[in-house]
């Protein structure tokens, strides 16, 4: 073993260190993952403050215009909505997000009742500077802002860590938004 280790030169181990370092960077580069969850959460009061001067409808009450606008669906159409969220080819939302109220957070926040919330306020997530800036400049998630964001995430909030291409098809975007509204009822 000693002879073998002597034969192995520094450059051999250097390659291992380079490969290991690269590998540690790749989950961040490819998936936008972060190696730890920050404990610095925005206090509830500060979150309320962000929406205090804005008129926001209740997106989830059955009497709201948003819920009212949701079409009655057959089982097949419901599957279509679910499918848009779960299996859209460009980057399946379900890889990182959950949406049901009893689902736990995954790599990215749970999207239950996301509409009406300021950007970047879910607990225990290390947000990108870009998203924090958007939060501070007053971005609130509404069906309209969500539509803009998922149509071109990097164009809408440059520098955010959601590493997916935009959904060009407006119908698919609407299906995803409807799914979020319906699952948050």
């Amino acid at each position: 073993m000693k002879k073998y280790l002597k034969t192995a030169k520094k450059r051999h181990w250097l390659l291992i260190i380079i490969l290991l370092s690269t590998s540690f960077y790749l989950p961040f580069l490819i998936f936008g993952a972060y190696p730890f969850a920050t404990k610095i959460n925005l206090p509830e009061d500060a979150i309320k403050e962000l929406t205090s001067d804005k008129y926001l409808p209740n997106y989830y009450e059955s009497t709201s215009s948003y819920q009212g606008a949701l079409p009655e669906l057959t089982e097949e159409q419901k599957l279509l909505e679910e499918n848009a969220f779960k299996n859209w080819d460009g980057g399946k939302c379900r890889f990182c997000h959950t949406v049901k109220s009893d689902d736990r957070d995954r790599m990215a926040p749970n999207l239950n009742k996301i509409f009406g919330k300021p950007a970047g306020v879910s607990k225990n997530f290390t947000y990108s500077k870009a998203l924090i800036q958007q939060r501070e400049s007053g971005l609130i998630w509404t069906p309209e802002t969500m539509d803009g964001f998922i149509s071109n995430p990097q164009g809408y909030i440059p520098g955010n860590r959601m590493r997916v291409e935009g959904i060009e098809d407006a119908e698919t975007r609407q299906l995803i938004i409807n799914h979020l509204l319906r699952e948050s009822k």
């Binding site: 490969l19 690269t22 790749l26 730890f36």
Partner: protein, 169 residues
């Protein structure tokens, strides 16, 4: 145990590791195509945990054997330094599997999937994020190692006419 027996045992373990790795690789490719809450996903996830644990144990055993009886350069055409390069990569590959196993076990534990004690709540998002990141990073590490082992093997074939495509020593 004499050298011949150790060599045979090392060889069998390496082949076993290779096969387990292939099974896990197919499983990794399959899992994301199945909806999260479906029973099939649960089955695939449990299979992943079982096969991953076996891969981890075998790698541990193989790395132990390596320390007692390191692989020797049997090819006279291959210079010792080049041989050492591939073997450093191969040894690191076993270490990567061990690290992957440890992070995988921790990930499953903190994900609340392994509950040896009934009723125990192990879910912790912060820890899950960290070990999940490590599991992903070590995954990339062994993919990189395998690619580089193959690249070096091909280079040795061209330069030294030393024909071997073994990824697992």
């Amino acid at each position: 145990m004499n050298d011949n027996k150790l060599k045979t045992l090392s060889s069998i373990t390496s082949w076993l590791l290779f096969m387990l790795f292939l099974v896990v690789l197919v499983n990794i490719g399959e899992v994301p195509t199945v909806p999260t809450e479906s029973p099939e996903r649960l089955l695939l996830r449990n299979f992943h945990i079982a096969m991953g644990s076996l891969l981890f144990l075998c790698s541990f055993f193989r790395a132990g054997l390596w320390l007692i009886h390191p692989p020797q350069n049997n090819n006279s055409k291959l210079p010792d330094a080049s041989y050492a390069q591939v073997h450093v990569l191969q040894f690191s590959l076993y270490c990567a599997f061990i690290a992957q196993g440890i992070s995988g076990i921790l990930n499953a534990w903190w994900d609340g999937l392994i509950q040896f004690v009934p009723g125990v709540d192990t879910i912790n998002h912060g820890l899950w994020v960290t070990v999940g990141y490590l599991h992903s990073a070590f995954g990339f590490f062994y993919i990189n190692l395998i690619l580089f082992i193959l690249l070096f093997r091909i280079y040795h074939m061209i330069r030294y006419r030393a024909f071997s495509l073994n990824v697992f020593a």
